[in-house]
Symmetry: D2
Subunit: 313 residues, 4 copies
């Protein structure tokens, strides 16, 4: 039986992937909310979506549906709002009697997870998050092959994704609202690294500014130098020449992991898993949220031989 | 020499066509403003766009550029804001020393044009608008062929473009802000009809509600029955079956005008014309704005034999 | 033991009476929220109020306090937001483990009360509202004296309170958000009338526009002609001459009820009653909300001899 | 002949003083704008004020009045918006053909004054600001007596005005929007000091944080230690004991200047002066804006014997 969805933040950047995932998994969107009213995108999916610009009216409508006939109830709320509102919107959804599929990062601070766990218990509903690299076919293969070994790898993670000045003006540029570069841009990769190489043994942070962060993490099975940036000037010149604006590289013991393809439908894959009861829950989200929080609050270490090569320039 | 552009309303629905037109005509976007900060779309065009969320800060920045070196000045401001803000944003742009390319409808009421004319004269800068059907190749051909005749045609215009409930919640559903269905959805067609068949001799309005309008217009060379709707239930059943959500038909003396192709790059074509000094100015915009205002304020006539066939159902 | 309060809508018009009532009943304000940040008024009461501009962050903070030490918990949430948000804010408050003191009208539609009743039951917390005329000393006296009789009175209620054009621009002028004149301006009086004269037997509405409403209500013990207006032109000329901008009159069987004094501290009186466990709850609020809803949706009756004298002019 | 006024920011904290000054100087308010719609305060002054929530619509209305009959034109625009919007709102007002009375600080950065000077010249209209200490009777007397001397005084300026946490959440707590403590809280005093003691010879800044600033200024006729704070914990204990929340002290060569009285109507006094053609213009505003900008951008000096006594604690 198909499920009824509501979406919070339907006018934002990442919402189209959720709209597509809802449709492509055979379900229907019934309600949506966004403070801005420029949501013509909805017409590409359905002409029957109740739309609100105020979270309070959305909340009331969900409450009304919850008390109404079975077939009109919302089963899932998809959350695509700014990071700092995720946990409040998760609570709203759980209390309306729905399960949640929430964009990453699920929350900014680890203690927000404790509150959500309690409300999960109170409401008997569940929070799921989007950790889409865990469903990427190439990365699943990599994980399988790594499992067979028992080595400690040297890993270099580089992720540079250019953003114009609007980024700093928006909530994404406000550390309190986005969690900063490591949280907003990096969390997928940190989650991936722990999923591949085990839990954190230690960490160092060498550099932090509004546009980039770099550090070192020791995991059970890897020693990782990492560098994250939203500044196009950090792109390797070979990339710039080609006119590309994003550079994504994971090198494991000297070997580049190829995973630039296969990104298209990962949200839909995560939805499929979630709908099948195999979603990524609070427990899955916790390690990367704990790690990015630790990175955000770590003292700055002096440069040493463990620093990422781009930093040394 | 390429031109510097600024865009007002860069986060909205129609902005991508302007961004594309700016790029495809070989010019550059330097400044943008939108009250909402979800404008990641900018990164598809340039990483060097100053972005503001407040019109006042945008205004100040333009003022600073105006007083700065020649090469940094803004030559054109493209306006994609909600209809009711167009004339205020045109004034802002003219006073900053730029020409304007403004989305349709240029303004909601004819008297707003008078004020703009005076400010054009004061500032020696020019307001252009987007009347893209006038650059559509098939419609240009049609016009040429009509010119050679001297008949009065019977014309039926039907335009049904489905919109979900968000439409009524947004500024588009607020008559004071959008001008209502005839102005917001219909203005292109009314402009087209007058461009093809001459000026208005008389009019009747048979029906008005939040989702549809229908009436009759007598032009110099045509008697036009028209029907406009944003309600999917008005779609002819043949269209619905095919899964289409828009129906656009102009029948001239029993013959359907084919113009469903060739819509893709009309904004760019209008930009080309404008940059070449052949833009559509206040004078071009006036007839359709005067007509839609007259339609909006006309009394409702009882149904008669001049009514559109869809109304009679 | 003193109680901890939070206030929703602290920047609005009616908030100062709640701030004063909290202080004058010996309690403390710990948290406040308002979408606008111009809340310097807080400094007149306390320098220790956590302040938020987003309801989501306020919600999160309350959740954190709820899970924290006993002495920091919020016992009461005072709600002074626009009418149409009251019920959503009541739910938020109940779920945060607090009781509610909500401005009138508690909700706009009677069915919103059903939902609140269920959530009261689920949370074991209570919603109280402000029905301040019920604590007005002169009106209490009047009620006592009426109780001794068993007559049916002829009553004329006239309430004209001038509002400038801002009123129509604000949410108060939007029927969907305020409930319109009868709900926003009149609810106190309708509650008072039923409190004094018993429940509704029948009603007529003669006139409705954006600025005034007038009708007739038959109660168990009264036949009431009523007239409500926010247009200064409706003021009796004797009042205008004196420079007054509000006219409030209740005439019971030809005798004017004097109650223009004693309005100052009624909010504080209601707080005292509420804190003592004698607050006005959902049951108390229901009759006037049901009645104003009925008035709002009644057909317009032709004028007859039961109409208010100001209408006949 | 009385003058027509418009007010920008009518819903804010300082607006009531402007509303009162407009009325008490015998003039009338015709138009007002504020993004928030909670402006019931207008009803205390007039029931005939056109009100807008969008600056664009306000701008259009002023443009319409400018082109309408003489008696409806706006002569003065009073600006009470957040500091960072002042210069944009001044430009809007000048271009609408009105003179300006703008709250302090007129602008945040000295170069904004250059742009305003040019637009004054273009429009032949004038910007005035509120420097109300210059019309304070006691301070005028002090200035007269200082003029007769030719000494260099030792001056200690202390201004502590408690603000709750809302201050940091609001635009006032955002340096880019308010200019920070020295600009937002201190500018009156810096203007006063230069007005009394001549222009700046040198300066030092010892301490800056979100709640306080302290430094030293050498003027032609004074050596000034200054300390500004919005933290109630900085209040002298004698003041705290008395329950006061503001402490204002200027000591000139060991003698306390008494000026705590006479603050009530200074806005009205400034309006009178302005209407009589003796307003404080761009030239008057420049020294304090230049000085506070210099303070804001100065390096932090190590403590020395010139530091304010409260700093040494």
């Amino acid at each position: 039986m198909s499920k009824n969805f509501a979406v919070i933040g339907v006018g934002g950047y990442i919402a189209p992937r959720h709209l597509r995932a809802i449709r492509d998994t055979g379900n229907q969107l019934l309600v949506a909310v966004d403070p801005k009213d420029s949501v013509g995108i909805l017409d590409q999916y359905s002409f029957d979506v109740k739309f609100f610009t105020e979270i309070e009216r959305f909340d009331r409508h969900l409450e009304k549906l919850r008390r109404g006939p079975e077939e009109g109830r919302i089963h899932y709320v998809s959350i695509c709002s700014p990071n700092y509102l995720h946990d409040s919107h998760c609570r709203l959804a759980l209390r309306s009697g729905a399960d949640v599929i929430c964009e990453k990062p699920l929350v900014i601070n680890p203690w927000n997870l404790d509150a959500l766990e309690e409300i999960e218990a109170e409401t008997k509903h569940r929070v799921n998050t989007i950790l889409q690299l865990r469903v990427h076919p190439e990365l699943i293969k990599l994980r399988e092959s790594l499992k067979k070994e028992n080595t400690v790898h040297d890993v270099e993670l580089t992720y540079i994704t250019s953003r114009g000045p609007w980024y700093q003006v928006s909530w994404k540029g406000d550390h309190e609202k986005s969690g900063g570069v490591a949280t907003n841009i990096g969390i997928h990769f940190f989650d991936l690294l722990m999923w591949l190489f085990g839990s954190v043994v230690g960490l160092k942070v060498y550099h932090v500014d509004g546009q980039r962060m770099s550090g070192f993490i020791e995991l059970e099975h890897a020693r990782v130098r990492w560098f994250l940036s939203v500044d196009k000037n950090d792109l390797p010149s070979s990339v710039k020449v080609g006119g590309k604006t994003t550079y994504r590289s994971i090198i494991v013991s000297g070997k580049e992991i190829e995973f630039s393809e296969g990104f298209t439908d990962l949200h839909t894959r995560v939805y499929e898993e979630t709908l099948a009861g195999r979603g990524f829950g609070l427990k899955d989200a916790r390690p990367s949220i704990t790690l990015t929080h630790a990175i955000r609050t770590a003292p700055i270490s002096p440069m040493d031989e463990l620093a990422h090569s781009l930093l040394k320039k």
